[in-house]
Each structure stands twice: as structure tokens, then as C-alpha cells.
């Protein structure tokens, strides 16, 4: 405000102007005070923030120290050392473990320059013959890192620019796979210590913050790894060698086994063939012995005759066993399935041995047992009568054979709805536990005791084969009270209804066997056999007519009524099976004449043509009087 204006103002106006000026001044001062106060507060806040910053920096320093120590410890534990090589400064930093690995203690920093004499602390540690390789590698890495920085082809989200992967980029100066890794040897760190193998892995990169071209290198002592790999390789080679030897051995063993198997099969076949061929003359010898009239002989002649007959029996059983075994081994052992009345069958089977037992002063009893199963044994089952009888005969005859005092008990009963058991318990010498498994194996281990006792030693082995074929099991335990033996067999069975009324009627027609004379037709081409058959049948009280081939047999049956026909299998003109078929085809009652096969074979396969043609029984040659009787009786029952 100018002086003139001020002069023009009234006193009130001046006073008002002054008051306004004062208020403005007061406001300015107040604002300044506020600003100063705020400045004071801000300064304090700033000072506190500064302190906090210092504290945080210290914490970070401590944490960084800890992390660094942890990292270095981790390197030590993992067996890795690290080196960071600055390509521009041509200097590197070595981690403590890297120093230890390379044998450069205390050398935390290393210069790339090689002295005029060609010496360099790190290269000097490398074995002389590999120094050039390591030197060239480090040169390549340095120039790659520098190229990388110059190319500027890097940009990485984490700030640490890294070269792209080897496959992906061809434009930048990246490392090839073989340049990433180098393995070299360094000298041992003390006298006498062997060289160590070092593996180095490198990666070039750019630190954008520092603007440096760097090479990160990890080093690892792989001496043990290489040694282990070499050892593993040696072991693998040794194993492969052994494997080849084993394979060769296996091939040889297989070949040897095949040879042995072939030899064994040939042996068995040979034995079977021999057995068959021996049977025919044996039939003559044994048959004649059976027919030999022993009246009027002296006691010593009686004894000689008895021994001859016993020897004949033994020879016949041996032949049977060998043929059975051959059947079993060649898988030709098959089973027939016919209805069988359990009670009668067992009574007859066991009863057969009663005389032998009585002769030795032994008891022989048959007992129906429950075996803890609630129901009684069924009466009619489907079974192979011949094979079942073979098992029972074997077990009971053994029991009689090996028992001197006491007796034999046969127990039979069901153990399930479809399974029955029979036990043959004796009070004999017993079988030591260690021999119990062995007695069921065949041929390889002939049972000397059995052989000495007059058997083939094959009986139980054959029983086991038959039982297994039937789907059952067989075994032996010590007898009750620790005395003797208990042979047991468990077999599956199928229950059936009894035979039809017609069949029973037919059988009734043949009951004359016991009452009157039976008329028997024998068809047999070998004269000796015909004579034996006639002699034995006559001894059994039969009227006999002989024919020499199948054709004659058919005519004979057609001509007159015979009660039974004994039909040899192998005959000239017309063989047994064909003759049987023709007889069965004759109209009228004669076709129902029971036909018993007469054969030197005992195998099912060989018998099959006869059984299929209509034969209902078998008599094996050499003919034994008892067996002939049983066979005729069973079809005429």
C-alpha cells in the first residue's frame, strides 16, 4: 500500500487493515508452527526408520552369513565345491569345499593369469598330461561367457540372465553338452595318495545387476564313483561269465537229462517188452506147475515144488509191476469206471488174504469206521475195480508180509460227502520216519527190505501212481500206540445206484459156477497156453472147449451155449477184439455170453480194444489158478 493511499484511508479503515494483517500474520505463524511440529514428528519417524533400517540390515547380514554357512555346509555334505569365474576380471572365487577338493587350502580367490614359467596354482594340481585339456576348457568357457554378454541374446525373469538351453537356440554362444562337463585327474594331496578324479560342470551366465559375464562351475570328487563303477563293471562281467557258464551247464544238464530220460524210457520199454515176451513161456512154466499133480511126491519134492511155485509167483508179480510202472511212466495208465458194491468188494479183497494171515498166525479184520464223519459209507460207487484191488492187495500183502505177531486191521469209511479213506493197520516192524516218504518212490530207490522179502520193491510206488491218478492221496504213519504202521489212502468217489434188474438176472443165470459145471470156451493160438488153460479150468471143474483163433471162437459161440469165453487178444486169422465184437453182434442170447480177455499185456491202453469190444474181465498170462477162479467167479457171480 502506497503512502498516498494510506493517507487517504480513514482511521477505521487503517485499523481494519491492521487487524487483517495481524490475523494473516497469526495464521502464517500458526501454519509455520504446525509445519515445524510436523517436521519434528517426521524427523523422529525418519530417525526411527533409519534405526530400524540399520537393525534390519544387521539381521540380513546375520541371516546372509547363516545362509552362506549352510550353503557351504550343504556343499561339503553333498561333496560339491563351487567356483564362480568372472570372465572379464579373469578372476575366480572358490568355495571352501572347492579349495579342499582341489587341494588349494586358503586360496579363496584365484587369478586366471599363468606365470611366465607356465605355472598356475590350479593347473599345477592337475596331472601333467591333462593340464592342456583343462586349460583349453577354461579358455573356451571364458570366451563363451564374453560372447554371451556381447550377443545380448539373454533376458531372464529372475534377473540372472542365463543362456538358453543347448537344443533350443543356435544364435547365442551357448555351451554344447560336452563343454558343460569336464573330467580330469588331480594329484593326490599327500605323498603316496593316489590321483583323484574330478568332475566339473559349468554354466555361463550374465549377472545383470553387476553387468558381469560369469561362469558357474561345480566340482565333485568322483574317484569313488569311478572305482565303484569299475568294480560294478568287473562284477557284472564276472556275473555274465558265470551266467554263461551256468547256461552252458544247464544246456549240458538238459542234454544229459534227455539222454538219461531216453535211456530210462528205453530201459522201461525194454523191460516191459521183455516182461511181455517172458510171460508167454512163463505161462507154460507156472501153469504147468499149478497143474502139477503133487500127489505121491516125497516131502523134499513137495518142498521143491513149493519153492518152484513161489518163485514162479514172484517172477509173475515182478513182471506185473514192471509193466504197470512202464504204463505209469509213459502216461498210459488209465482208469476204468464201473459200478462197484463196496461191501462185497472189500469182503472179497480182504478175504483173499485171510488164508495167508492165518498161515502166519495173524488176525485180519475188516472194520467200517466213521473217521469223525457223520454218515456211513455208501454201498455202490463208481470205481476201477482192478486198480482198487491192486492197491488193497499191495497194502494188505505188505502188512501180512512184515507182521510176525498180532494182526492186521483194515478200516474203511467216508471222510467227506465225496471222499473215503481206508487204512491198513498192522502190528509189524514199522517204518522209521525218515523212510516213510522214500518207500513211495519208484525204481531209483529199490527197497532192499522189500526185495529181500520177496517183492519187486515197486508195489507202493505203483500204488502212489494209481492213487494220484484217481485224484487221491496215500501215506503212512506209525500205528496206534506207536506199534507197527498205518498205511492210509483217501480217494474221491461218486455214488451210483446198484445194477439193473436185467443185469442181476443175467448174473443169476451164471451162478451155476459154484453149483454145477461151467462150459468154458478158450480161444488161444499158443498151444502151451491152451494146455495150461484147459488144465486149470478142468481143475476148477469146468467143461472146456479149445479153439485156436477168433473166427473159430465166433463159430463155436454161435453153435453152442457157453457160460464163459476166455479170449486171447493176439491171434491169427481174427484177433480177440474183432471176435468179441462179432460175438456181441450175434442175434439172441449167445451175444450176452461173458467174455474174459486173456492177455500178456496188463496196460489199460492195450486192453482197451477188448474192453471196448465188450469183454468184461481180464486174466493175465501167465495164468494163475486163483486169478482165473476169481475172474470167472466175478463174471458168473
Amino acid at each position: 500500500m502506497g503512502m498516498d493511499a494510506a493517507a487517504a484511508m480513514t482511521a477505521e479503515e487503517l485499523a481494519a487493515e491492521l487487524a487483517l494483517m495481524r490475523r494473516r500474520l497469526a495464521r502464517s505463524e500458526s501454519a509455520r508452527t504446525q509445519a515445524e511440529a510436523l517436521l519434528e514428528i517426521k524427523s523422529r519417524v525418519l530417525a526411527q526408520a533409519n534405526e530400524q533400517l540399520k537393525a534390519n540390515r544387521e539381521l540380513l547380514r546375520i541371516e546372509l552369513g547363516q545362509r552362506t554357512r549352510q550353503l557351504l555346509e550343504a556343499q561339503r555334505v553333498a561333496g560339491f565345491g563351487t567356483m564362480i569365474w568372472d570372465a572379464e576380471a579373469f578372476k575366480g572365487e572358490l568355495s571352501p569345499y572347492c579349495q579342499a577338493l582341489l587341494g588349494l587350502p586358503g586360496l579363496a580367490e584365484i587369478d586366471g593369469a599363468v606365470s611366465a614359467s607356465g605355472s598356475h596354482p590350479m593347473l599345477d594340481r592337475v596331472v601333467p598330461e591333462e593340464r592342456q585339456k583343462v586349460f583349453e576348457w577354461s579358455e573356451r568357457l571364458t570366451s563363451r561367457a564374453l560372447e554371451l554378454k556381447r550377443s545380448g541374446v539373454f533376458s531372464h525373469h529372475d534377473g540372472l540372465s542365463q543362456i538358453c538351453s543347448t537344443e533350443a537356440c543356435g544364435s547365442c554362444a551357448n555351451l554344447t553338452d560336452c563343454d558343460r562337463m569336464l573330467e580330469f585327474r588331480i594329484a593326490g594331496q599327500s605323498d603316496g595318495e593316489a590321483n583323484r578324479m574330478i568332475r566339473a560342470l559349468a554354466e555361463t551366465s550374465i549377472d545383470e545387476d553387476l553387468g558381469r559375464a560369469l561362469v558357474f562351475i561345480t566340482v565333485q570328487d568322483i574317484t569313488r564313483e569311478i572305482e565303484a563303477a569299475n568294480e560294478a563293471d568287473a562284477l557284472r562281467q564276472r556275473d555274465q561269465r558265470r551266467m554263461r557258464e551256468l547256461e552252458q551247464l544247464a544246456v549240458e544238464l538238459r542234454a544229459a537229462r534227455e539222454v538219461a530220460d531216453r535211456a530210462n524210457a528205453a530201459k522201461t520199454r525194454f523191460l516191459a517188452m521183455m516182461s511181455h515176451d517172458i510171460r508167454t513161456p512163463m505161462n507154460g512154466v507156472i501153469g504147468m506147475l499149478e497143474l502139477f499133480d503133487d500127489a505121491g511126491l516125497s516131502e523134499s519134492q513137495h518142498e521143491m515144488l513149493r519153492l518152484m511155485r513161489a518163485s514162479g509167483d514172484q517172477l509173475r508179480m515182478l513182471l506185473d509191476d514192471i509193466i504197470d510202472l512202464e504204463q505209469a511212466e509213459s502216461g498210459k495208465l488209465t482208469l476204468a469206471a464201473f459200478p462197484l458194491e463196496v461191501g462185497t468188494f472189500l469182503g472179497t479183497s480182504i478175504g483173499f488174504w485171510a488164508r495167508a494171515a492165518r498161515h502166519k498166525g495173524l488176525t485180519l479184520e475188516l472194520e467200517r469206521a466213521a473217521f469223525g464223519y457223520g454218515r456211513p459209507m455208501v454201498e455202490w460207487i463208481v470205481a476201477d475195480r482192478y486198480r482198487l484191488r491192486q492197491i488193497i492187495d499191495n497194502l494188505v500183502s505188505n502188512a501180512v508180509k512184515y507182521t510176525r505177531r498180532g494182526g492186521i486191521l483194515v478200516r474203511v469209511g467216508p471222510v467227506a460227502d465225496d471222499r473215503f479213506r481206508f487204512e491198513v493197520i498192522d502190528t509189524g516192524i514199522g517204518i522209521p520216519p525218515e523212510r516213510r516218504a522214500e518207500i513211495f518212490v519208484d525204481f531209483g530207490q529199490l527197497h532192499t527190505a522189500d526185495v529181500q522179502a520177496g517183492g519187486s520193491g515197486l508195489g507202493l510206488a505203483i500204488c502212489r501212481r494209481i492213487v494220484e491218478l484217481m485224484g487221491g492221496s496215500i501215506g503212512v504213519e506209525v500205528g496206534p500206540g506207536g506199534v507197527g504202521s498205518c498205511f492210509w489212502v483217501e480217494l474221491p468217489f461218486v455214488e451210483v445206484d446198484g445194477p439193473t434188474a436185467a443185469k442181476q438176472k443175467e448174473e443169476k443165470r451164471l451162478r451155476r459156477f459154484d453149483g454145477g459145471r461151467l462150459r468154458v470156451l478158450v480161444a488161444e493160438d499158443v498151444e502151451t497156453n491152451r494146455i495150461v488153460a484147459r488144465g486149470m479150468l478142468s481143475k476148477l471143474g469146468c467143461d472146456v472147449e479149445l479153439v485156436t483163433n477168433g473166427e473159430e471162437a465166433v463159430e463155436a459161440v454161435r453153435r453152442g451155449e457157453f457160460d464163459v469165453v476166455l479170449m486171447d487178444m493176439s491171434m491169427p486169422v481174427l484177433d480177440g477184439p474183432e471176435a468179441t465184437r462179432r460175438i456181441k453182434a450175434i442175434p439172441g442170447a449167445v451175444s450176452r455170453t461173458p467174455i474174459i480177455a486173456l492177455t500178456a499185456y496188463s496196460g489199460r491202453a492195450e486192453l482197451a480194444p477188448m474192453m471196448t469190444a465188450g469183454a468184461i474181465g481180464v486174466v493175465k498170462k501167465p495164468i494163475v489158478l486163483d486169478e482165473l477162479y476169481r475172474a470167472i467167479k466175478s463174471v458168473c457171480r
Binding site: A26, A31, R32, L38, L39
Partner: protein, 178 residues
Amino acid sequence: MKGVIFSELIHWVEETYSPGIADRMIVQAELPGEGSYTSVGNYPHVQALAMIGQLVEITGRPVDALADAYGYWLSSRLAALYPQFFVGYTDAISFLKAIDGIHQKEVTKLYPDALTPRVIAEVDGQDLLVSYASHRPFAEVAHGLIRGYIDHFGDDLVILRDEQTQGPHAARFILQRK
């Protein structure tokens, strides 16, 4: 609200009208601090509303016209007081586009307790749409500020109001080339 808005409001009234009118405005508004404001302080925005209310009484001019005129004047003051915010911008559009993403963040760094209005600028074809939203009813001040920035950069733009967003708390301005 930042003290600079209050101190510059008084400054503007003193310059535009007179120190006496500014004094009357302050006295009649019966302010708690009796009208003493420092630009680095913070004060309730109702005190600014009270002062503008009194200025309407004293001058007889509409409140919107006064708020717009103050905004226009404030833009040149902010350019003078805080030149660093204007460095690197050659036109109003790029400057306005940077308000939400850059300037407001800078303000918050300096004054962590500042409650800044939301100002979003979007390009729509040839136009720039600037949205203003605030809990304070200063949409007209924002209009004046935009007008001031256009003149500051010497741009040839005209400001239209989106009629659907009329109101003191929110507004949308359409900046078109003339």
C-alpha cells in the same frame, strides 16, 4: 485432505478477490484452527467445503463455477510446486493416463496417510475418458484441474461431461480433439 489444497484455496481467494475477502471467508467459516494451514499437514475436507460455502455467500457466484475456477488455478500451482510429477510428459492425455498408476503411488509414498481420489483415464478411439470418484464432493475441482492441465501442455482438447455421471462425488469427462 492434504493441507496444500487448503493453503492454496486461501491463496487463490487472496489472489483472485482480495486478502480481505479471504479473511472474511475464513472468519465466517468458523474454522477450528482459525484458517491456519500448512501444505504438509492434513485437515478434514469439510473445512474446505465450509470455506467455499462462505465464498459463495460473499461473492454470490455459484459453487460449481467457484470449484472449477479453483481447480484450474490449482493445476498451475501444482505444476509450480511439484514439477517432478510433470517430467517426461508432453501432453495432457499421457499425463492424465499416468495419474492412477504412477502419480497417486508417488503421493502415497510421500504421504502414506493420503486418501487420494480414484482417477482413471482410458483411451476410447480418438477420445480419452477420465473417470473421477471420491468420497469428497470435488468433481468440479477435478474438471478445473483437467482444464488446467490441457492448457498447461497447450493441447487442443475440449472437455465434455458424461451426463449420466453427474454429481459432486463421481464424474466422467470425455476429452476430444477440437
